[in-house]
């Protein structure tokens, strides 16, 4: 474990990759002829978040109040050299993992939730609302809202709501109100339920419900991922990692992370883009949601109902209903536009792993390092293990982001 006082490691600024992309980022566009869904963002996002969404500034000052809360919830998170795993794999190189599971809510999601709730609170709104897949984002939203004394309404993808009852309890403990999505709380949810009462739900439907709820109740919508502002807030992961590596004189040859919408991955890897041109960067996702290999790089809806703007991204289609894989956080049909562009231009590689590989990877990691990784993070670990096998003699320094712990996902091993 790296030890240094927090103030040395937690950055003062977030990093925004937009000015450093190899090509201009295609801007969001309206999907309907006579209605501006871009303008709609004015009504559902905190103004400061919206400003950050479209800013070209490379660095954004992190408010002191947010840094204070970052410290309270466990930042900086540890960067740990996985010596036991290296030994187990008989690997001559080095493996490090950044452990975002060490935060209060057990995942990286709290990094942007705190920032967004802080900005929403400053605007004096009635509350915040969002969707959640595996429940990590919902937990983070509930805690962040609670820290700023805001009510939180959370729409949880129904299949996860059923599979992960403990997540609901966590959110309730943080004073969050959670319903399975599709729900009866919104017109869109009711429409879906009338067509299929057993609909398992998707993140896209959850987003649509949360946006509708925000508009109807003067709440602000909390952006879990995909949008640039969330990735900017998550850059705290990569900036800390860079600093921690620097303190021990290491250089990352390879960075590996998992991708749902792209926020933990972008936050972890993007800070390395401008000054680590030789670092190999690999985005891994679920075999069952093959957005990078079988999706198209195109303008597509972020949500199923088409309330939010279209963005150019790798997408399997906004109406894609993924199989009910256990890694709920990886079920999203698309990926953030900046990450999609970097993959399209070849700067970032992609990989896909299947459920069995992931389970085995989680077991291996638990047996060697003691950490039970979240199923989503298990994808990154599986890719890392495959990478080590394929590059056994190259003695590289590999850094993997373990975006969350899996202590509330143990049912997958039953």
């Amino acid at each position: 474990m790296i030890s240094a006082i927090n103030s040395e490691i937690i950055p003062e600024n977030w990093y925004n990759v937009i000015p450093d992309l190899p090509e201009p980022l295609p801007p969001p566009k309206d999907s309907k002829a006579e209605f501006s869904s871009i303008n709609l963002l004015n009504k559902i996002l905190p103004k400061e978040v919206l400003r950050q969404e479209f800013t070209f500034k490379r660095y954004e000052k992190i408010p002191d109040e947010v840094i204070e809360q970052y410290e309270q919830i466990g930042r900086p998170t540890p960067l740990i050299r996985a010596k036991n795993l290296e030994k187990y794999l008989d690997y001559g190189g080095k493996i490090f993992y950044k452990f975002e599971g060490a935060t209060a809510t057990g995942s990286h999601k709290i990094n942007t939730a705190i920032a967004q709730a802080y900005y929403a609170k400053n605007e004096g709104v009635n509350g915040v609302t969002t969707e959640t897949g595996a429940g990590q984002w919902g937990s983070a939203t509930a805690l962040a809202a609670s820290l700023y004394k805001l009510p939180a309404q959370i729409f949880m993808v129904k299949v996860s709501f059923i599979q992960k009852p403990l997540r609901k309890i966590v959110m309730n403990l943080y004073n969050g109100n959670v319903v399975p999505s599709p729900s009866n709380l919104t017109e869109y949810g009711r429409k879906i339920l009338s067509e299929n009462p057993d609909h398992p739900g998707t993140l896209g439907i959850g987003i649509s419900e949360a946006v509708e709820y925000a508009l109807d109740h003067d709440y602000r919508y909390m952006v879990a991922s995909v949008m640039n502002s969330a990735l900017t807030h998550q850059s705290v992961i990569g900036l800390e990692t860079k600093k921690q590596l620097e303190l021990i004189g290491e250089h990352a040859d390879v960075l590996i992370g998992c991708v749902g919408g792209g926020s933990n991955f972008g936050g972890f890897t993007f800070p390395f883009i401008p000054d680590h041109p030789d670092t190999e960067i690999i985005a891994t996702t679920a075999d069952e949601v093959p957005k990078f290999s079988k999706g198209d790089y195109k303008y597509d809806l972020m949500d199923s109902a088409g309330v939010l703007p279209e963005v150019r991204m790798y997408s399997l289609g906004a109406d894609f209903v993924p199989p009910t894989i256990y890694a709920g956080g990886l079920r999203y049909h698309g990926a953030s536009p900046s990450l999609s562009l970097l993959i399209n231009k070849g700067r970032i590689k992609s990989d896909e792993v299947n459920q069995e590989e992931v389970k085995n990877a989680i077991r291996t990691f638990a047996n060697t390092q003691g950490i039970i990784a979240a199923p989503e993070s298990g994808h990154a670990i599986a890719t890392m293990l495959n990478y080590v096998k394929a590059h056994k003699n190259e003695k590289k320094t590999i850094v993997v982001n373990v975006s969350g712990h899996g202590l509330l996902d143990l049912s997958i091993f039953q």
Partner: protein, 245 residues
């Protein structure tokens, strides 16, 4: 003198109303004029301008506008086409020849370096060889290195869009924006557009070194209402704001 560049989508709201507005516009108050050729997919325009493209597509008639183009050219007003590459790409050279034949000085192609970046260099070189101005269109999401590269390939004025699309209300940061662009392109003529909100914003942009403004959505709303007086008052007002700086 700061540049005032009004924008009109050809054919909106109908050919005669547009002609009426254009011919009433005092040419000594404007510097350049921007004509939008109706697009099937005006993807970086907001809802107001998008409607004008749809209507314009039905009405546009080159023969009708040929004498109007000649009128502006003979009055020394440089004309620029705003066209989407998604429309003109397949017949690019023919379209440029057409614009030259109608007296246009240059072209703004908002989607060229965003959606067709790999083709941009070749097309800009082609326009340079034709002595036809390519007006680089940049926005907050254009990376610094691309702003520099594209600007170096051209010598014309620059169009900087403050918003992701026209006529919408996303927060923008004037001081940071102008500081960035001034640092990247010192001494270059920069026109700001795409959703400028207030006269105060125009003043600030000019004070910070901007060379002019392009205005579109507001004019199109007056065209829709056939409010010629409101349009002329607006042109005079913006001219006054620019002249004060």
């Amino acid at each position: 003198m700061k540049n005032l560049i009004p924008y009109f989508t050809l054919g909106y709201p109908d050919n005669n109303t547009l002609k009426d507005f254009l011919m009433a516009m005092p040419v000594n108050k404007i510097n350049y004029i921007e004509f939008g050729f109706p697009s099937d997919d005006p993807r970086y325009d907001g809802p107001t301008i998008r409607i004008t493209h749809r209507v314009g597509n039905q009405n546009f008639n080159d023969g009708f506008y040929k004498p109007i183009f000649q009128y502006f050219k003979s009055n020394g007003i440089k004309m620029y086409s705003l066209s989407y590459y998604s429309d003109i790409g397949p017949k690019f050279e023919d379209f440029i020849s057409y614009l030259i034949s109608r007296g246009f000085s240059g072209i703004i192609i908002p989607d060229l370096i965003i959606d067709y970046y790999s083709e941009a260099e070749e097309k800009i070189s082609y326009l340079n060889n034709k002595n036809f101005e390519y007006i680089p269109f940049f926005s907050p999401s254009t990376p610094d290195h691309i702003i520099k590269k594209i600007a170096e390939m051209t010598s014309s004025w620059i169009y900087y869009g403050l918003q992701p699309s026209t006529g919408i209300d996303i927060p923008y940061e004037i001081d940071y924006t102008t500081e960035r662009i001034n640092q990247l392109l010192p001494g270059r003529e920069i026109t700001y557009g795409f959703g400028i909100k207030t006269e105060e914003d125009i003043k600030q942009l000019m004070k910070n070194g901007g060379s002019g403004v392009a205005i579109g959505s507001y004019i199109e709303k007056m065209l829709e209402k056939n409010d010629k007086k409101g349009f002329l008052d607006y042109i005079n007002k913006i001219r006054g704001v620019l002249d004060d700086e």
